[in-house]
Symmetry: C2
Subunit: 388 residues, 2 copies
C-alpha cells in the first residue's frame, strides 16, 4: 500500500443556504481543485458522501457535481456514493484513501454534501430518523436525541459530571465557531445561555445539540509519489480506521468500547498515542458525545470528561484542543459533508492556515465521526489521523 496525501481542500460556509446541494457541492469541489492547483483533468475517481433523504436530489448528486465542475464533461470516471448516515463524509474520504493507497487511482476526490435547512424541522427530524434500525428502535421511537439525554444523565450520576460542565462544551464550541468564517453560528454564548435554552432531552438543552446545516466539503487525494507536483505542504493520511458494531452485552450506554477500539487501532497505524494528538475534531452531535469522545479517544481517563472541559484542556491552547472549528455543535452538521469538513479543518490546521482558530504547530490531527443508530448506539465509527 502506498502513502496518500491530501493536496487540496475546499469547503463552503456551513449554515442556512438558499443554494441546492448540487451547487454547494460544485463550489466545494472547485475550491479544492483550485487549492490543489489543478483544473481537475487528473481526477480519476470520486467518492461522494451524501445522506440524501432530506434532499430533493436523493441520489446521483456526485454525478451532477462532477459534471457541473467540468470533470466528467472531459471524460467519464467512476463516481460512487457512500452512505453511512452521519459518518458518510468520513467514509467517502476513507474509500478514496483505500483506492489510492491500493494503487487503483493516482488522484481521487472525496466529496461530501448535504442540504437540510429547507425542510421544516419535524420533516428534517423524520428524515434523519430513517438512519436508525426501524423494526424495534423505529417502532419504539428511539432516536439519538433521547439517547444522548440518557447518556448525559448516566454520566452525571456515575461520575458526578454537572450540567454546567456539559454547558461548557457548547460554550467552547460557539467561541471557536465565532472565529471560524465557515461556521454555521457566529456568536459567543455563555454557560447561562446554554442552561436557559429550552430543555430538549433532559439534562440537555438546545445549545447542547448540533443544528441542521447546509454545506459541502471536498478533498483531493494523491499517491505519495505525486505530491511534489501539487504542493509543498502535503498532509498525509496516517490512519483511516472504521468499525461498525455496538457496545458489549452489558448494554451499558456509556461503554464506548467500539470507538475506543477504533482509536487504538488508528493510533497504532499512525505510530502515535493519544497524547501526540495536537487537535481532534470530534463528532459532538451533542455535548455529551464530546465528553464521551474525550474519554474514548484517550485524552482523559474514563469519567473525567466533565473535568477535562472545565479545566480548559479541550480549548485551543489546552492539553488536547477539541473542535477548534466549532464542531458539529457550532460549525454545523450538514450530514454528508461533516466528515470532509473535519478533513478541511485538519488540513488547514496542519498547514498553519487556520487563521484565528489555529492551534500552535500541530503535527497530528485526529478526526472522528459516527453514524447510524442501532442498539442504542451510533454504530458506525470512523477515525482518521492526519499528519504534516
Amino acid at each position: 500500500m502506498r502513502g496518500v496525501a491530501i493536496v487540496g481542500v475546499g469547503q463552503t460556509k456551513f449554515g442556512v443556504s438558499t443554494e441546492t446541494s448540487r451547487s454547494l457541492g460544485v463550489k466545494a469541489l472547485l475550491d479544492a481543485l483550485d487549492d490543489a492547483g489543478t483544473n481537475g483533468r487528473e481526477i480519476q475517481a470520486a467518492y461522494v458522501g451524501h445522506y440524501g433523504l432530506l434532499d430533493r436530489q436523493k441520489g446521483l448528486i456526485g454525478h451532477l457535481v462532477l459534471s457541473d465542475a467540468g470533470i466528467t464533461q472531459r471524460s467519464p470516471i467512476p463516481i460512487t456514493r457512500v452512505e453511512d448516515a452521519c459518518s458518510s463524509g468520513a467514509v467517502a474520504l476513507r474509500e478514496a484513501y483505500i483506492a489510492v493507497a491500493g494503487g487503483f487511482y493516482d488522484v481521487a476526490v472525496a466529496l461530501g454534501v448535504e442540504k437540510m435547512t429547507h425542510l421544516p424541522t419535524i420533516e428534517a427530524l423524520t428524515g434523519m430518523a430513517q438512519g436508525r434500525e426501524q423494526d424495534i428502535e423505529g417502532v419504539m421511537g428511539m432516536n439519538p436525541i433521547g439517547i444522548y439525554g440518557m447518556k448525559a444523565r448516566l454520566h452525571m450520576e456515575r461520575y458526578g459530571t454537572s450540567e454546567e460542565q456539559l454547558a461548557l462544551v457548547a460554550v467552547k464550541s460557539y467561541k471557536n465557531a465565532a472565529s471560524n468564517p465557515y461556521a454555521h453560528f457566529q456568536k459567543n454564548i455563555t454557560k447561562e445561555d446554554v442552561l436557559n435554552s429550552p430543555s430538549i432531552s433532559p439534562p440537555l438543552h438546545r445549545y447542547n445539540f448540533c443544528p441542521f446545516s447546509d454545506g459541502a466539503a471536498a478533498a483531493i487525494l494523491v499517491s505519495e509519489d505525486l505530491v511534489k507536483k501539487y504542493t509543498d505542504t502535503p498532509v498525509y493520511v496516517a490512519a483511516s480506521v472504521q468499525k461498525s458494531g455496538f457496545f458489549d452485552d452489558s448494554g451499558d450506554l456509556l461503554t464506548e468500547r467500539v470507538l475506543g477500539d477504533t482509536a487504538v487501532e488508528a493510533y497504532e497505524k499512525a505510530g502515535i498515542s493519544a497524547k501526540d494528538v495536537d487537535l481532534a475534531e470530534v463528532h459532538d452531535a451533542s455535548s455529551i458525545a464530546e465528553i464521551l469522545a474525550y474519554e474514548a479517544l484517550g485524552f482523559c481517563p474514563e469519567g473525567e470528561g466533565g473535568k477535562f472541559v472545565e479545566e480548559g484542556q479541550s480549548q485551543i491552547g489546552g492539553s488536547t484542543p477539541v473542535n477548534a472549528s466549532g464542531g458539529l455543535t457550532a460549525k454545523g452538521h450538514p450530514v454528508g459533508a461533516t466528515g470532509l469538513g473535519q478533513t478541511f479543518e485538519a488540513v488547514k490546521q496542519l498547514r498553519g492556515e487556520a487563521g484565528k482558530i489555529q492551534v500552535p504547530h500541530p503535527e497530528y490531527v485526529l478526526t472522528h465521526t459516527m453514524g447510524g443508530l442501532y442498539r442504542g448506539e451510533e454504530c458506525n465509527k470512523v477515525v482518521h489521523i492526519f499528519k504534516r
Copy 2:
C-alpha cells in the same frame, strides 16, 4: 495489487417476498458463508449495495444484516453502504474487490439487497424516479421507461430493427428464467404474448421491461493467497471497471460510447476480447437495453443487435449467450441486489453448477449493470469479467 477470488456466493429467489430486506439479506449472506465453508469469523469488511428509497429500512441495512448473521456480534468490522441506483450491487462488489486487491482486507463480503414489491406500483415508480437528475429531467418527467421507448424507436428507424426482434429478447429471457429456480418469473412466453402485452412506452410492451422484485445476493471475496483454504473452484475477478458519464455532445441516444469504453478497458484488463466471453449477464432493464449491450460490448456490430437475437446468437448454445439467468427482464431486478445476483450467476456458471441454464464450459463470464439517469442516459456503467 493482489489477485482476488470469489469463494462463496449466496442468493435468495428473486420475486415477490413477504420477508423484509433485512431477512432476505441475512439469508443470502448465510448462504454465501455456507458456500465458502466459513462461519464468517474471518470476514473483515462488508460493502452493501442498497438503493433503499423504496424500503422502510432506507439506510443501515448492512449493519443489521451483518449483526443478525452473527458477524458483528463477534467483533465490529467496517460496513459501508454504496449506492449508484440500479448499479449499486455491482459497485458494492467493486469496492470490496478494490479493498481486498489493495491489501486492506484479506476477506470481505459484498452484499446487495432490495425490497420493492410491497409498494403500490406508482409509489415504487416514484421511488425509482428519485435516481434521476431532478432539476431538469425530474421537472420534465423524463424516466428510463420513456427513454427506452425513444431508443427502441430510433434503433428501428436507423437499423431496421423490428418489434418482433425486440420481443425475441424477452422470449429468450423468460425461457431461461423458467429453468432458473432463483428467477422471479417461471413461465415461457411467446413473441405474440410480448406483442399483445400492454404498450408501455411504444414500441415497447410490458414484457419488454423488467419487473420490481425483492431479493438479495452476496459474494465472499478473498485474496488469491487464501483461496486454497476455502475452495477448489475459485472464480477470479479478471476485471472490474466503472465509468460514470454520458454520451458525447452529439446527443445521440444510441451512442453507448461510455459503455463501449468501459467494456474495452475491461477486456484489456482481463487480457481478452469480446469473442472470448462465454456468457454475459447484462442490464436488460428493457429489451432495447440488451440489444444495445450486444453492440456496445462487442458481441455483434453496431446496428445488428436485432439480427443477433433473431439468429439465436444470444441463446444458450449461441455465439455469445446473454442473460442465461433470465436477466433483469425475467430473473428480476431487486435494484441493490442485481449486480451481485449477476455475480452469483457468473460464479455458478464458471463452476459448472448452473443446472438447466448451464452454458458449456465457460472460461470467462462478463457482467454489466447501469444506474442513475442524467442527460437521458443511465450514467453509471459497471463491467466485471470473471474467470475460472
